[in-house]
């Protein structure tokens, strides 16, 4: 801490240059914070996946349905603790642009399978007891100003009722939420009771979209998956079972490999920062050589002056990173409001701060180490020549 004024003196030898460099680091980290939030949103399904959950879909396409009668045999597979199932409803609310996922589920089985969803006990009981009941994600309910107790008119793109109509109505019996912001992105949905749905639909009765299995140990995932698929091999409805995370990653990649895209953009941004701050540091050290030589003359060791140069780079990058990520943190609530909840919530996570800090330290060493070593090797008499 006692050397901090020396670091400050070096940074503010040319305040304009320092401020401009700081701004460029800030903008880079602002981009990093925003883009990484988008990437996190895309992989939130995979990140929040439970290693103890497997997903069973039709072998050749996830849009093919599976018999609900598979429930019993799957439950009896050794290693399976519990089973739930769900089916895609394909919902629109009021107009085409208000689309969101609606799943027809067995209420208690499904909610037990996803303990990360927070549902008040009374709402859970009402959902299980009400055949026309529906649970809506809190963010979704807020967006459309739904209130518990109201009728919920939803049309389906793919499931006509027995009378041929695509217009369905449910009773909103409660909301579901999540404490973890990453899981909140998965709560923009409506759950409906499969008992009513299956009875009231025209097509596909007695079938469901996919099964979710909870297993005792993640290490059993491979053998349990194989056993489930073996059960239905050579049947008209063969299955494909895989860990939930694997399924989520594959599903997200259908949209595009956001991770690779974001990584490439950020690599370009940080490479530019590397060149920019590297140049700034080289200039700063070049101009500061007489001062550094004086410090050495006064008795500062080679190691100390090298550490001062490195600290200058660290301060520049860490402070810029702090401001940039703080800026992203401040901006994202506004971005979330502007999407009206149509996109999973974007936020700067603890991991983003950690990665940001690690990148800043790595960049600081990359740009600070060469001039620091140069200063450490500096001969006082040579450096002072012409400055005495």
């Amino acid at each position: 801490m006692r050397y901090l004024p020396l670091v400050g003196a070096a940074l503010f030898r040319r305040p304009t240059r320092t401020i401009l460099t700081l701004l460029s680091v800030l903008v880079a980290y602002l981009l990093f914070g925003l883009l990484y939030a988008v990437q996190l949103a895309f992989q939130s399904g995979a990140d929040t996946a439970d290693a103890r959950r497997l997903l069973t879909t039709a072998r050749y396409s996830i849009i093919d349905l599976l018999p609900i009668s598979y429930l019993g045999p799957i439950e009896r597979v050794p290693g399976v603790v519990s089973v739930a199932h769900a089916e895609w409803f394909g919902a629109k609310y009021q107009n085409e642009s208000n689309a969101f996922p609606v799943f027809a589920v067995d209420p208690l089985r499904y909610l037990d399978m996803y303990p990360e969803f927070v549902v008040p006990p009374a709402a859970r009981e009402r959902f299980a007891a009400t055949r026309t009941g529906a649970l809506a994600g809190r963010r979704l309910a807020d967006r459309y100003h739904w209130v518990v107790g109201q009728r919920l008119p939803i049309s389906s793109e793919i499931h006509p009722k027995v009378d041929g109509s695509l217009a369905w109505e449910f009773d909103l019996v409660g909301t579901l939420d999540a404490e973890d912001p990453a899981v909140q992105g998965n709560t923009d949905l409506v759950l409906i009771n499969v008992a009513y749905f299956d009875e009231a639909r025209l097509l596909g009765r007695g079938r469901t979209g996919w099964y979710i299995e909870r297993i005792a140990e993640p290490a059993q995932a491979k053998t349990v998956s194989a056993e489930i698929d073996r059960l239905f091999a050579n049947s008209p409805d063969e299955t494909r079972t895989q860990p939930e995370k694997e399924f989520a990653v594959g599903f997200a990649k259908q949209i595009g490999d956001m991770g690779a895209l974001v990584t490439r953009i950020l690599a370009a941004v940080f490479f530019t920062i590397l060149l920019l701050t590297g140049n700034t540091m080289a200039q700063s050290v070049r101009e500061g050589i007489p001062e550094l030589a004086i410090l050495k003359t006064l008795g500062f060791s080679d190691r100390t002056v090298a550490a001062l140069v490195l600290a200058e780079a660290l301060c520049l990058l860490l402070f810029g990173a702090l401001l940039g990520l703080a800026g992203a943190t401040a901006l994202l609530p506004g971005v979330n409001r502007s999407t009206g909840g149509r996109f999973p919530p974007l936020f700067v996570s603890g991991a983003t701060w950690l990665y940001g800090a690690v990148i800043a330290v790595a960049l600081a060493f990359a740009v600070g180490l060469p001039p620091a070593l140069r200063v450490a090797r500096l001969r006082i008499v040579d450096a002072l020549a012409g400055h005495r």
């Binding site: 020396l6 007489p290 004086i294 003359t297 008795g299 060791s301 002072l384 005495r388």
Partner: protein, 230 residues
């Protein structure tokens, strides 16, 4: 007075563009504790090189440099840095203050290498600034000071850690006659009243008159010495 600085058979050779250049040739010199020595001579005579060797900024090619009983020519890297911090105060022609720091912070610099706390460092810096007559300029930055005031701050920085030896390289070379006289008077006061041993390189015979002894170097060899006004 006992010898504080003992130089025996010191030779310094620089290599420049593949050629060897002997700057000092078998120099022998004793400087007593409390002495004030002016090193004079034409440009390229080796004055600054000799001063660098005495101040531990450089090492001789051959010979021995002993200061206060310590063979500093045998010290390396960190040990030599620590020795300089503890024993030598430096004053240069162009002051060499850190422009972004206040006068007080500049004076405090050598104390950062000690175990003193912030309060004690400030206190000592204030005393040093008072001694050079700049107590009221403690919070001013170098660009807000005149050349003479900057050199006073540099002198305060040189004496703040109470070194045995003051090494001054053309301390008045960038100052007008009147300011130079004041600075030289200050250095003389530090020598006479505070017992600092001073070695000063100068071209200026007037400046050299403030020293107790004047030594002349020519082509790397000490040619003669005279007693000064002291």
């Amino acid at each position: 007075m006992s010898a504080l600085v003992e130089i025996r058979g010191v030779t310094k050779v620089y290599e420049r563009g593949g050629h060897q250049l002997e700057v000092l040739h078998k120099v022998d010199l004793d400087i007593a504790a409390g002495d004030f020595v002016a090193l004079m001579g034409p440009s390229g005579s080796g004055k600054t090189t000799l001063l660098n060797l005495i101040g531990g900024l450089d090492r001789p090619t051959a010979g021995a440099v002993t200061v206060d009983g310590q063979r500093i020519d045998q010290l390396r890297g960190g040990a030599l840095s620590r020795w300089r911090a503890a024993h030598v105060g430096f004053v240069f022609q162009f002051y060499n203050l850190l422009p972004a720091l206040t006068a007080e912070r500049n004076v405090e610099l050598p104390l950062l290498l000690t175990d003193l706390g912030a309060g004690q460092r400030r206190h000592r810096a204030a005393i040093a600034l008072t001694l050079v007559g700049l107590a009221d300029r403690a919070q001013h930055r170098p660009k807000e000071l005149s050349g003479g005031q900057e050199q006073r701050v540099a002198i305060a920085r040189a004496i703040v850690s109470d070194p045995t030896l003051l090494v001054c390289d053309e301390p008045t070379g960038d100052l007008d006659r009147e300011t130079a006289a004041a600075i030289l008077g200050l250095i003389q006061m530090l020598n006479r009243e505070h017992g600092k041993t001073v070695v000063m390189v100068t071209h200026d015979p007037k400046a050299a008159e403030y020293a107790r002894r004047r030594l002349y170097l020519d082509k790397g060899t000490l040619t003669s010495g005279t007693d000064g006004a002291a």
